[in-house]
């Protein structure tokens, strides 16, 4: 039986997290279908149909699914569950919200944040904030899992899947959307950026994050933060990189004034190249950094900016 991937999207566009979950699903060795549940989500559905390896895109377009609330989305997935052996979702805040609801109703365990498909029933997943890796084997029957997207490459574009529309399921009537405040930024999204520059407690204030923002603009980078910087109120929580925040794996991760608590490392240690700038040469961040600069960030960051300007950035 095929595998079902539940798409992450904002109706207008498909998130890269979906393409990565498709890669994980393809490794199960069965045909892959993608469910796009949204409202006026044609563009997202079209993008899903172009992912290589996807056989069918199922579209449920209704106001009920506009914000992907857990109760209606879980009910919709359950209505399709008979046809699938495996149901996967990217481990985004949406996926983590609705998928355990599906697993519980199917009376199967969920395997959270898989890092690797060892075989169609065996998976690796992180425990203790990534301090240990657990290899688990699922019992016979349906498999429900979320996918740690930084662990899988995005499926390529260039496919042409069949698209099927289905009618919306009933509204469980348990919850309603009441508004949202999304952070507006011209910079790339943290989880999609090629370069991420994060600040820690060493920045000393929210004002000082402007230093990092200026640098980020030169490099087309996203700006992140450690939990310490978020807890200190320097920046909002959506900046947080770490076990309790976002998991990122960019080409270059630049940690500025971040000591390198396990909690933070859990969120960025899969980055291709790690740069650390810290005045404390004993800071644990240097143990994982490919390039370390022991310097006061208030000197080093303006120097970096000047140097980038000289080189035409």
């Amino acid at each position: 039986m095929p595998s079902l991937v539940v798409a992450e999207h904002d109706n207008k566009s498909l998130k890269d997290a979906t393409a990565k979950a498709v890669t994980a699903a393809l490794q199960l060795g069965e045909p892959v279908h993608v469910l796009v549940a949204g409202h006026q989500c044609d563009a997202a559905a079209d993008a899903a149909a172009r992912l290589m390896g996807v056989e069918t895109v199922i579209v449920a377009d209704a106001p009920l699914y506009d914000r992907m609330l857990a109760e209606p989305v879980a009910a919709l997935i359950l209505s399709l569950a008979d046809r699938y052996d495996a149901i996967l979702a990217p481990a985004t805040t949406n996926g983590k919200n609705y998928l355990p609801r599906v697993a519980a109703k199917l009376d199967v365990p969920q395997i959270s944040e898989i890092l690797k498909v060892v075989s169609p029933d065996t998976f690796e997943r992180p425990i203790y904030a990534g301090s240990a890796i657990q290899t688990v084997q699922a019992p016979a029957g349906k498999k429900v899992m979320t996918v740690r997207t930084t662990a899988f490459k995005a499926a390529d574009r260039g496919g042409a899947a069949l698209t099927v529309s289905i009618v919306a399921g009933p509204d469980p009537g348990l919850s309603t959307f009441a508004g949202e405040v999304l952070s507006k930024s011209e910079r790339p999204e943290l989880t999609a950026a090629k370069i991420v520059i994060s600040g820690g407690r060493g920045l000393q204030s929210g004002e000082n994050f402007r230093l990092l923002e200026r640098l980020a603009d030169k490099l087309h980078a996203a700006v992140g933060a450690s939990r310490a910087a978020v807890d200190a109120g320097f920046v909002p929580n959506e900046y947080q990189v770490g076990q309790t925040g976002k998991i990122v794996a960019p080409e270059v991760y630049i940690a500025v004034g971040i000591s390198g608590a396990i909690q933070h490392l859990a969120g960025m240690k899969d980055s291709k190249v790690i740069v650390a700038i810290n005045k404390d040469e004993e800071a644990p961040i240097f143990q994982v950094a490919d390039y370390g600069l022991v310097a006061d960030l208030f000197n080093a960051i303006p120097e970096l900016e000047d140097e980038l300007s000289k080189r035409g950035f």
Partner: protein, 248 residues
């Protein structure tokens, strides 16, 4: 309003865990254990609701070994009224925990269940959502702010792009995120008082729940280690290196 707060006993967040040489799990011998930090936030929220006169009773539940009674005592010292300990041996998967909690909800009829969004040992992030599913209740995960409304509650949630508000009917399950509140330290008089508060002892069999794990853990191993790289002397050298590495 009655509030049920499930709390889990986990390895203290400051402890660096060691993997057993035989790769069967992590070494828990002589290790400091504490209440899961996200559950502490849940207890704090429930106790604040009681202090503000919104909640009439706060019941702390823990499913775990006999020592999980200490975790319940911590919740009682923070201000919960009574505890329920469901004794289990070994790891209990989120689905089994949710089933036990369902049986407790059927018996206790809480208006709100508040628990941590994930336990920092297995990092599953499932139990609250699974309980909500089994009860056919609404859920509000990753809560940042809670306020009561005419129809139930309005809960602001931490989502990937920012914050989202949802209105839920009660009863409901809410799971806590970091910024909901800052948990208190229990005072000595309250720790003494907590010793007199009742804890009911139960077993999964009392609730008719089979807690046999469904997933088979084949091994627990070290993650791949990164090697420390080189120290550079200046911003210019750093950019040279990044250029040479082909990433800039």
């Amino acid at each position: 309003m009655k509030i049920l707060v499930p709390v889990k006993r986990v390895v203290d967040y400051n402890v660096k865990v060691r993997i057993k040489p035989d790769q069967t799990g992590v070494d828990l011998a002589n290790i400091k254990m504490s209440m899961n930090p996200f559950d502490e936030i849940a207890v704090e929220e429930a106790v604040r609701l009681k202090e503000r006169g919104k909640a009439s009773e706060v019941v702390a539940v823990s499913i775990g070994p006999a020592q999980a009674s200490e975790t319940i005592r911590t919740a009682l010292a923070m201000g919960a009224d009574r505890g329920i300990l469901v004794k289990t041996e070994g790891d209990t998967e989120p689905l089994a925990v949710a089933k036990i909690l369902k049986a407790i909800c059927d018996e206790e009829q809480p208006d709100l269940v508040i628990t941590g969004k994930q336990a920092i040992d297995d990092d599953c992030n499932q139990t609250g959502q699974m309980l909500a599913a089994l009860m056919d209740w609404p859920q509000a995960t990753f809560a940042h702010k809670l306020e009561f409304t005419e129809i139930g509650a309005r809960i602001e949630r931490e989502i990937d792009g920012g914050l989202q508000s949802v209105d839920v009917r009660l009863p409901a399950v809410m799971t806590t995120d970091l910024r909901l509140n800052e948990p208190r330290y229990a005072s000595l008089p309250n720790i003494m008082k907590a010793k007199k508060k009742p804890i009911a002892e139960k077993t999964p069999a009392d609730y008719g729940v089979d807690v046999t794990p469904r997933l088979k853990v084949l091994k627990v191993s070290e993650p791949p280690k990164r090697q420390a790289g080189v120290k550079v002397k200046s911003a210019a050298e750093l950019l040279d290196r990044l250029h040479d590495a082909g990433v800039l």
